[in-house]
Symmetry: C2
Subunit: 287 residues, 2 copies
């Protein structure tokens, strides 16, 4: 495949990104909630009225933009209005995404999900004053989640380039509900859920030499990690794909997804194929 | 103990910091060497002639200093000349360290060790253009190593406050070689080495649902992690302690470490006690 991308490398990346997400949650869990990090105007920062974490994310993204982070289509800033031009010599980053797909950025939704839903599920109560470290950990979590969730549209593009005909059925779907349904395959999602739960156990365990721990205690509840995937990562991945405007790709046509003209069996197979890809599962490996 | 610190919490922190170090190395290993990150003057940055990684570390440390990161005695900047005042309301961080101990910063040595010795041991050859991400990962590794290595002097202080008499023998040692010898207990170091190796296996494994992987492959060679501890983390921890100027603590006296007046048995017991503490091992737990 052009740009050195293969379905195999895409799958590997998705699986590897799960590890990064689990590591980042475990690292954030070292610190308690530290609620002042999230209070607007807590610090006396000139010309800035947001929260500490917003300040740290904005400032760090600006630094990273000057050294070219957002030249890669895999990276999505949380504050795109805040970036600076890259000062690096040009590097050829593969432009796999169509500009319309590249422009999609659902980080506002991810930000809201992380702070309002996910974080309260695993951060313990308390305040240890380590605000900068906490905000830096939040940034790691946000970046890992953002990269993973946005990778869905990336994958859709790769799949389209590899097989425009087979994938045309998806592309012709202008009915988002039908598309979301097509993007759902419960067997695959169940496997991903079990895999990330297992990762939370492996990476969040207390490793000792004697292995005779009285009770097994994980640094982040594995159930929270599987819930993160089921409730947010997988639906938001699909949302990113469903939002990708593909109708200008020369494959315009009436949707036949919901129609009788598409046999149920074909639809199920397509759904399974697409899901194997967007969630990094190979049924051959696991069945 | 004052400030809520106990020997148990210190030990827990040391053990927990091992996990952070292993995670950070695994995350850095996602990217190849990316050597332009380390070339001085690679980017066209106004008024800056250093490497990209130095730029990212300096800029990030400056941001973190404004939100109070270095108010905590556990944190040591790599570029102290570059920090800005904290803009946060004052927070009471326990000042466990004596000012003379607090002032010790061996990050120049840690920086050199990380880039010139450790990184080449585990980074694969190649250049994928993800320079900002690479530098950010390097920063995570550096901070984790710095926090862990400097924690040695921290621990020494806690131990001194808890038991000034028993620890007096150490403090009176003005002979650094004798002190370094006292700080060495091979049985304990062997256990730490095995523990971090085991962590590298647990956290760096490929987690799959079926567990029938043909060959076990770790993301970072566990041997590199144990070598990191044996060759650098443990010796540098001792160096940090040995460099802590304690002679102004009202416990001045002639060194009796090397003399016959101190029985070998006592010396061995002290060495074991101190080592259990500075490396986070409880022999009771593991034997």
């Amino acid at each position: 495949m052009a740009d050195g991308l293969t379905l195999e490398s895409v799958r590997e990346s998705l699986i590897r990104q799960e590890d990064t997400i689990v590591f980042s949650l475990i690292e954030r869990s070292k610190y308690p909630m530290n609620s002042p990090v999230y209070v607007k105007g807590f610090a006396d920062i000139p010309r800035f009225t947001g929260s500490l974490v917003e300040y740290v994310v904005r400032k760090t993204e600006a630094v990273h933009s000057t050294v070219g982070r957002y030249e890669s289509q895999e990276e999505h800033p949380f504050f795109p209005d805040n970036l600076l031009p890259s000062l690096l010599p040009p590097y050829y980053h593969p432009k796999v995404l169509h500009p319309a797909g590249d422009a999609i950025n659902i980080n506002t939704t991810i930000w809201d999900m992380y702070f309002n839903q996910l974080l309260p599920l695993f951060a313990t109560e308390g305040d240890d004053g380590n605000y900068a470290q906490t905000a830096a950990c939040d940034l790691e979590c946000l970046q890992a989640l953002s990269r993973r969730i946005h990778y869905g549209k990336y994958v859709a593009e790769v799949k389209f380039k590899e097989s425009p005909d087979g994938y045309g059925t998806l592309i012709r779907a202008q009915d988002r509900d039908a598309l979301m349904k097509l993007l759902t395959c419960e067997a695959i999602e169940e496997m991903v859920k079990r895999r990330v739960e297992k990762k939370a156990m492996a990476f969040g365990q207390e490793v000792t030499l004697n292995n005779t721990d009285k009770e097994v205690k994980y640094k982040v509840d594995p159930f929270v990690v599987s819930r993160l995937y089921v409730e947010w990562v997988m639906p938001l991945t699909k949302l990113g794909i469903a939002n990708t405007p593909l109708q200008d790709r020369g494959a315009v046509g009436d949707s036949d997804l919901g129609s009788d003209s598409m046999k149920l069996q074909t639809r199920n197979q397509l759904s399974k194929d697409v899901n194997e890809l967007i969630f990094g599962v190979d049924m051959m490996d696991t069945e």
